[in-house]
């Protein structure tokens, strides 16, 4: 029964993800760049949820793995080939090894210590990438492709312009189908579909982990670690495994970011990025399957919308009001939009933590319960 439900959920999820260029068209978010970001941060959040949602270990340092993934992918583009497959593989492996190191150190402590340690180690990685390891990361400028890179596997025929990333010849930037449906200009892009397939795969892995004995063990760590230890089980191998898995997801996301746009900079490792993925998971609903993806889409979508609003747009909205009210509304709202998006994000985040600790999924569940009363199944779709 559970298995059937999971399959149903996966199929629905796959359909939505694959049809996203069509579904998001009315919201104005259906251009490849934003859709790719939805999927990539969705993968990042899914991975983070495996650690935070299941074990309750709150890491502020996952941006480091994202950055490491990006750097290794760009190095692969520089040295080996513009094909994204070796780049993604390397970014997963490097991020995995890196998270094994960091996890080994920081998982020696739990609770608050763990959060602080991951935060400190991430900040250290940022400093390393920003200045210390400049030969490897190109420091402040960031790592970029150059015409005279080796690219051993690629035929040396593309002199003159930088080659673009591809998946066995399918170029990531290319829009392969550009129909007009209901007056909307739809763009189907190879890059998005690579991200989408990987997102679906990640989602499937996440379902498998949630349902496995391993996932059950991780939940036991969250519920009562002391008790688990008293039954003679060492919890550290399990938490370390969860940490490495989530680090590999972050590495994959970083590699994908670099595959879509082949450059990597230290700002990707800043701990605010690590904070953002925490926001995504908490906002969507930690410990739920679909929550992290919802959170990622929600944050990236509204980031996109809000940063476009400026005072002119606001005046347009309130044009029907008397002028003094119009001006007052603009003064009140303008710090929250445009460049002030982070203020909205912070405030929203506080509100969610205070009033809705279960996140959007929990909120939907509650609303569903209020509306339908008896019919709870509809609201429970997507919740473990």
């Amino acid at each position: 029964m559970n298995l059937m439900k999971d399959r149903f959920l996966l199929i629905i999820f796959a359909c939505v993800v694959l049809a996203a260029p069509l579904i998001f068209a009315p919201t104005g978010a259906a251009y490849p760049d934003l859709l790719q970001r939805f999927a990539i941060y969705g993968i990042f959040a899914i991975g983070f949820n495996i650690l935070f949602g299941l074990t309750g270990y709150l890491s502020f340092g996952h941006a480091a793995f994202l950055g490491v993934g990006s750097y290794s992918a760009v190095w692969m583009f520089k040295l080996l080939s513009m094909n994204i497959v070796p780049a993604l593989l390397l970014s997963i492996v490097v991020a995995g090894v890196f998270s094994l190191l960091i996890g080994y150190v920081s998982l020696r402590r739990s609770g608050i210590y763990f959060s602080i340690l991951t935060l400190a180690l991430a900040q250290m990685s940022y400093n390393l990438a920003y200045s210390v390891l400049t030969p490897l990361t190109n420091g402040e400028t960031g790592l970029q492709l150059r015409l005279d890179d080796a690219r051993v596997l690629d035929a040396a025929g593309d002199a003159g312009s930088l080659p673009s990333t591809n998946f066995f010849g399918l170029e990531m930037k290319e829009v392969f189908w550009n129909p007009t449906v209901f007056g909307y200009d739809l763009q189907f892009n190879w890059g998005y579909y690579v991200c989408a397939i990987l997102l679906i795969a990640s989602f499937w892995i996440s379902i498998r982990i949630f349902r496995s004995p391993f996932g059950l063990m991780l939940r036991a760590v969250k519920t009562n670690q002391t008790r688990l230890n008293y039954t003679g089980i060492s919890s550290r191998p399990y938490t370390l495994a969860a940490f490495v898995i989530s680090g590999m997801f972050a590495g994959l996301a970083g590699g994908l970011l670099a595959s879509m746009d082949p450059l990597a900079g230290a700002e990707r490792m800043q701990w605010t990025v690590g904070g953002e993925v925490v926001l995504m998971v908490v906002l969507g609903g930690m410990g739920t399957l679909i929550g992290p993806i919802l959170g990622a889409v929600f944050i990236k979508y509204f980031e996109n919308i809000f940063s476009k609003i400026n005072d002119g747009v606001l005046h347009g909205w309130f044009a029907i009001m008397p002028e003094w009210l119009d001006n007052a509304m603009v003064v009140i709202i303008s710090p929250f939009v445009g460049k002030g998006w982070h203020l909205t994000l912070g405030a929203l985040f506080m509100l969610v933590v205070i009033f809705l600790p279960g996140g959007l999924v929990d909120g939907a569940k509650r609303i569903g319960r209020v509306i339908t009363g008896a019919n709870r199944r509809a609201a429970k779709v997507g919740i473990e």
Partner: protein
């Protein structure tokens, strides 16, 4: 010798800031059991209290000069700050010493902010998991930081120290060394003395007053103190205000050293956490000692001679690979974190912490 002394001095001003912030963090943590991710934001708000006071004191009445004209032929404008008009010479003194005025203003403001924070937000999180406490204070830190950014802009705003305390002092000569051997900015010395004063004040307050005794008792066993009929919650709230004031004052006095910007709080917060962990969670002397130690260590790591010593040592044991040498060159950027990792691996409870503190 003087090079070593200079590095110690270079380290203590940052060390003082770390120590003050870590002291506040530990106070809040020891009393209320909450890890306050918004503590860096309080440090930053303190700095911006100084910025605001500087601006407020310079609000001027504009009068037209009867004699002079500017290049367009209009009468030139004369700015007279209101405070000088009201208080005369004392007003000029206030503008000159605006940092000191800000210190006096910042104490009640920061205590108030702290109490509002505790009563309005953190109070509701005592029975929630630690993750929730971290998350909500983290959100609060973002909000405070972004509000400051919206009001004051993203660029650093330079503040100046009073003329009397500007410039450098020949510290070497003061302690009987050769002339010009150790030249040190005067304000940093003031900052160090100020922080020692504050730290001493907090310790004396906890040690020698009845209020402090009750607070210490509450830190040891909150329930029993409550059962004795003492309103411990109220005292802990005030301690939160005190911790906020300590962070705020650290921020006010830091403004002449480093122009405040909206993300200075976050920059210091991460390091202060490391300081708290190294010092031992919940230990006040540990936090202070680790703050100064790590500040000085950071300064030593940036010393070219120290790097050369390490490189020579590595050559001795045939470990002078290029890769390791790159790390050594940037040692000052990462040394604090390395020490934190080392401390946690070797002595997980920190320098002076109790074992098993906050392990859940």
């Amino acid at each position: 010798m003087d090079a070593i002394l200079l590095q110690i001095l270079n380290g203590i001003d940052k060390g003082s800031a770390y120590a003050l912030i870590a002291l506040g963090l530990t106070l809040i943590f020891g009393t209320l059991g909450v890890v306050n991710f918004a503590h860096g934001a309080l440090f930053m708000i303190g700095a911006f209290v100084a910025v605001t006071m500087g601006k407020v004191l310079e609000i001027s009445k504009i009068t037209l000069d009867p004699v002079k004209t500017d290049f367009l032929g209009n009468p030139a404008k004369i700015k007279t700050p209101y405070v000088t008009e009201w208080f005369g010479n004392f007003g000029f003194w206030m503008i000159e010493w605006s940092v000191l005025v800000s210190v006096i203003v910042a104490i009640p403001v920061m205590i108030l902010i702290g109490i509002i924070m505790e009563r309005g937000l953190i109070k509701h999180f005592y029975n929630r998991p630690h993750a929730d406490q971290i998350l909500v204070t983290f959100g609060l830190a973002i909000v405070l930081q972004e509000i400051i950014k919206a009001v004051y802009g993203a660029n650093p705003i330079p503040q100046s120290a009073p003329d009397l305390l500007k410039g450098s002092v020949d510290f070497g000569m003061m302690i009987g060394m050769a002339e010009n051997s150790v030249i040190y900015p005067l304000w940093r010395l003031v900052y160090f003395c100020f922080s020692v004063l504050i730290i001493g004040g907090v310790f004396a307050f906890l040690r020698f007053t009845t209020f402090g005794m009750v607070v210490r008792a509450g830190m040891a066993d909150r329930e029993t103190v409550g059962l004795l009929g003492i309103n411990i919650d109220k005292r802990f709230t005030i301690m939160f205000g005190v911790a906020a004031a300590v962070a705020g004052l650290a921020g006010v006095m830091y403004t002449p050293i480093n122009p405040p910007n909206y993300h200075m709080g976050m920059d210091f917060l991460v390091l202060s956490f490391v300081v708290v962990v190294v010092g031992g969670m919940g230990s006040l002397p540990g936090a202070v000692a680790a703050g100064f130690l790590l500040g000085i260590l950071e300064s030593f790591a940036s010393m070219p001679e120290a790097k050369e010593y390490i490189i020579t040592a590595l050559e001795w044991v045939y470990l002078d690979f290029d890769f390791i040498l790159t790390f050594i060159k940037g040692l000052d950027q990462i040394v604090i974190y390395l020490v934190a990792v080392l401390v946690l691996l070797v002595r997980p409870r920190g320098l002076m912490g109790k074992a098993g503190m906050m392990e859940e």
